[in-house]
Amino acid sequence: MKITIWGTRGSLPAPSPENNHFGGNTSCVSVEQGDAFLILDAGSGIRRLGNHFPPGISRVDILLTHLHLDHIIGLGFFLPLYNPAIHVNIYGPTGHKENLLKRLQRYLSPPLFPIRLQDLLSPPNLIEINESAFDIGPFHIKSSYICHPGPTLGFRVENEKSVFAYMPDHEPALGSAHFPSEPAWTSGYALAQGADLLLHDAQYTEEEYRPRVGWGHSTMSDALKFAELAAVKKMLFFHHDPSHSDERLQQLQQKAMENNHFSFKTGIAAEGDVFYL
C-alpha cells in the first residue's frame, strides 16, 4: 500500500514560513493500492489532495476519525466531491443521537458553508461505523473508539502484507496510573499492535500537557511509550501543535528521544511524505 501524508497539523491550519517543512495543513492521509483509494480524515490537506487526485479513480472512501473541525474543514474543498463521475463514500463515527449527515451539516451548510452536502450533484454516501471491521478493495479495515472527547475512532488498515495504524487524536494515558504497562487496559492498543507504520498524536510537550489533561491529546513521550507497548515497527509524531515551528518540533523530538532507546524507528510526519508498506 502507498501512504501519502497531505496534512499533519492539529487543531488549526497553521501555514507559515516557519512551518514549511512539516506543513501547516490539518490531518489528511491517503492510502492507495490498485484502484482502491482511501482518505483518512478531511483536514485542510484534502484540498491539495483533491487537486492531485489520480485520474481514472472512480471511487474514493473517506474515513473520518471524528468530526472536530480540523478533521473535516477541507471536505467542502475536495474537488472530487463535485465530480459526478467519482463516487464518494464518507465513513464517520456513530454518535448518540444525530446521524452522520446532520452532524456534518452543522459545518457543511449555511451560514458556515455556502453549499449543503445533500445538494451536491452527486451527494456522497454516508456510512456510520463504530467498533467495526470491513473491507474496501484489498484493504481490511478495523475501527474502534479511542480516548478523545466525543465519538472518535482510530483505524487499522491491513492488506495482505502490512499494517498501517492511524490515531491522530488520542490520549491513551488519560487517568491511568499504570500507563503504558497493561495492553488490555490501553486505549487503541489492539489497533496499533505490531503495525508497520503508526501515525500517532504527539501534540504536546510535558509542560503543555499538564493543564490540558483530558483534552484528548498526547505528549511525544506518551506517543513513544504507546508505540513501544504496541511493538510497532515505525511511529511518526502526528497532529503537530499549531504553535510548534519546524525548528521547535525538531528540538522537541530530540528532547523526547534523549537517553531513550526504542525498538522501532521514529520521526516527525511531514506533508508530502510517502511510504510504501
Partner: protein, 131 residues
C-alpha cells in the same frame, strides 16, 4: 491480545482515583477490576488476582437481609443491573469469608456505550455502618 472497550478503560481509570469501593464487571458478571477501597471488602488485592471469574467472586460475600436471611442472587443490585441493563440499588449485609459483617448500600449501573453496546456494569459498595 484484545483491548477492553474505551468505556471500560475509562471506568477503571475513574475508579482507580475514587475512595469508595468500586467493582467493574463485564456483561457476564466477571470482575474486570476493583479499586483499592474495594480490595478491603474483597480481602484480595487486584494486583494479585487480576480479573476474577463470576463463579469465584460471587462466593466471596454472603449477602444477608436485615433479618439475617441469605439473599437470593437475583435480588442483588449488580445481578439486577446485569440482567435488566438498568440501574439498581439496595441496602443489605454482607458477610465475608472471614466472618466479618458489614451493612452496605450498593448502587449498580450499566455501562452502555455508543451505539447501544452493553459492555458491563459498575457497582459502588458504600459501607453504611459497622457492627
Amino acid at each position: 491480545m484484545t483491548t477492553n472497550h474505551i468505556e471500560i478503560i475509562l471506568c477503571r481509570q475513574l475508579a482507580d482515583f475514587l475512595t469508595v469501593p468500586v467493582f467493574l464487571t463485564d456483561p457476564e458478571g466477571n470482575l474486570l477490576f476493583y479499586n483499592e477501597p474495594a480490595e478491603e471488602l474483597l480481602g484480595k488485592r487486584y494486583d494479585e488476582t487480576g480479573q476474577v471469574s463470576v463463579e469465584e467472586w460471587s462466593t466471596v460475600f454472603k449477602p444477608l437481609d436485615l433479618d439475617g436471611n441469605i439473599l437470593p442472587p437475583e435480588s442483588l443490585p449488580l445481578v439486577i443491573t446485569l440482567t435488566n441493563r438498568q440501574p439498581a440499588s439496595g441496602v443489605f449485609w454482607i458477610e465475608s469469608l472471614t466472618g466479618e459483617k458489614n451493612k452496605i448500600s450498593v448502587t449498580a449501573f450499566p455501562i452502555i456505550g455508543r451505539p447501544d453496546r452493553f459492555l458491563g456494569a459498575v457497582a459502588i459498595f458504600w459501607k453504611t455502618t459497622t457492627p
